[in-house]
Homo-oligomer: 98 residues x 2
Amino acid sequence: MNEDSFLKCIVDSNRRRILMFVGQGEKCVTELVELTGMEQSLVSHHLRSLRDCGLVRSRRHGKKILYNTSSSDIVDLLSRIREVADSVKELAEGRECV
Amino acid sequence: MNEDSFLKCIVDSNRRRILMFVGQGEKCVTELVELTGMEQSLVSHHLRSLRDCGLVRSRRHGKKILYNTSSSDIVDLLSRIREVADSVKELAEGRECV
DNA sequence: CACACATATAAATACACATTCATATTATGT
DNA sequence: ACATAATATGAATGTGTATTTATATGTGTG
């Protein structure tokens, strides 16, 4: 049930991009809008999903709300996923020749 | 682009179940139907997705077609994902009290 | 208090995709 | 060659969900 919502959350590439950015340090929504090029409301929606899953945390700082990852494990896992995806891709392409 | 299709493939819990079963050793479609309780056509559809992504391989053995994982990294990654999901869940639940 | 800035939310739309149902393909044994 | 077993495919359906548009909420400042 939980692994499921976790994966549903990181399957979206826009949410993964947000995760990578906040993984490099606290960011406010406006910064994320600029970094990603997405609409503000879309960023907010995704941040909501990420927070509901426990993938990011937020704190208020004046008018702004700062977001960061709840755990560094998450960013590590994302790169591990990319590694495995790449190696699987190579295997699959090697097989095409057969 | 590729990380994306990889994640889209493992986000489905039925495909993850299939992956876990074939990760324990070669299985034919009929076995997977019995193990998972899914309809035969559904298993076939999912196996197709998994094969298109390079996550499983198949070979013919008589009437049957045997499937297995293309790499043991995949099963390892699935358990790693479960670990991180669990730890994130704990963090999130700890935060609820605040 | 009123205004501007920062963020969140709600409803509407569009689209992807899992599942089902029906049917096709391929192989084996007699 | 035929019947049956094993698997695959195609079309139809339904459901979930990302994105957009519009609006609301909250916060500091003059």
